[in-house]
Symmetry: C2
Subunit: 293 residues, 2 copies
Amino acid sequence: MNMDWALVQSFLAVAETGSLSAAARLLGASQPTLGRQVKALEDALGVELFHRQPKGLILTDVGAALMPAAQAMRQAAGQIALTAAGRSEELRGVVRLTASVFVAHHILPPVMAQIMDRHPEIELELVPSDTSENLLFREADIALRMYRPTQLDVVTKHLGDAKLGVFAAESYLARHPAPQTPEDMLKHRLIGYDRDEDIIHGFAQFGLTLDKHAFAIRCDQNTVYWELVRAGCGIGFGQLRIGLHDPAVRQVLSEMDLPVLPVWLTAHESMRQTPRIRRVWDMLAEGMAAHLP
Amino acid sequence: MNMDWALVQSFLAVAETGSLSAAARLLGASQPTLGRQVKALEDALGVELFHRQPKGLILTDVGAALMPAAQAMRQAAGQIALTAAGRSEELRGVVRLTASVFVAHHILPPVMAQIMDRHPEIELELVPSDTSENLLFREADIALRMYRPTQLDVVTKHLGDAKLGVFAAESYLARHPAPQTPEDMLKHRLIGYDRDEDIIHGFAQFGLTLDKHAFAIRCDQNTVYWELVRAGCGIGFGQLRIGLHDPAVRQVLSEMDLPVLPVWLTAHESMRQTPRIRRVWDMLAEGMAAHLP
DNA sequence: GCTGTGCTATTCATAAATGTATGGCAAACC
DNA sequence: GGTTTGCCATACATTTATGAATAGCACAGC
């Protein structure tokens, strides 16, 4: 009884996405192929795994009962990939790096260029993402994050803390006198976050209570948030280093004591000693040092 | 990173058999295919999994490091097959039965015929084997054994005990007076086992000490053992019911109190409620009842 | 030493798997 | 109601994987 394990891989993708088309996109195959593979597995096992509907496929009870074992196979497959990659002695190969969209946009490109210049044999993949990537499945090899990592089985390095600052565009300040105290800010158009409450908590530390409606404009996506500041929508917060290097904005309330953002590097422990990962890790640490005071 | 899981299946077969040819036979594929699949996995992972030699393939350190995870995948795949099969409502399908070579030869054929007559939609596979088959990987669905099962996660049924008897061929007894006491046997040609010590232990219970050199001829394979008895090589032991129905032999020392062989049916608990397994199980119990007093 | 056996590696023909294109259905949107 | 979008199912052409055959090597047995 030698069921083809690759069919389980397809089954799992369809079960989790709920459609042949989405699973095909995920696996880099085509929709008819996924349909055929699922059917082949159903034939091999002699059971119906999905109810087929116009909007996709729904797991049957039997299909659902197979999920834990299918997920266990994926876990083990991930372990194989990780173990092999961790034992590779080659400098040549892919390194996949994840960081927030903001960091990937504003900070990493020159660091990437440095790595590429020095190591053309390393293929870099940069994954801007504001959600965590799972290092076990090699969704990323190295994560650069502004919070302390929580995933198990990882090695971490605290690179330092990024300072924040209050900024407004020169175009905005040409029409509004710069605020001189934290309270002054309340008379200005504030740029804030929608669901994220970090700024609200920051004001609370200065004895100022406000809710998100105090913000004249709100955006949780950090790169767009910074463009709103640069465009003169109002007063906003950003990384000190970036703001000081941006000719479109000026820091205000520079003596205001703001929280800092910790900067951490993370890699799966199996991978940490892989030569190319180690090289990229070291150069990231070096490149970020220039960015952190 | 979507490594093809089927390649791991091939890797595992090659690692455990030590050769492409043997793995190909095991998986029902061809040797060049296995060679290519192993190479494809090596290319995908970027590591060398085997040292290739004229006599086969030897795992590298990296290859060996992947074994636990590969075995975990097989365990999970087995669970999938088992869970699906256990949920199948079809009476139609394969049922795989294992029993010792002796039982498969002398006892089961008429029972098989009965099952086939009554259930032509069930495909029977009979696996004569003196070693245990693993029910988890569906090497067998039902085991009929003359010892109490030890595998976990199985359901068992004790069908009864098979009595033993002492027998000699009519052709042998035509030339040698039948023994009247257990001690008389020592003056006869005894047919015994080579490595198996059951008969030696049986004699010890009658206060008679002997070793395997007391046997004029020794054979551990039970069907051949019985043919030696039938051919007149000497005095031997066998199942009472079979001996009494065999015109070529006669029971001697019928009042001798011999051990019995317990007869057990075993199936994996996941499979036990599958309709066709349940049917075959019931008919086996019924068919064996006619054989056990 | 020769033959037979068992192994891996390679080539070529064949079979199987896959992708592209299309049709039909259902739901959402204008 | 008509159009668009997204889905699965199917047919046909293309690509990929596989098996049969062969060569070369190492080892064991006669």
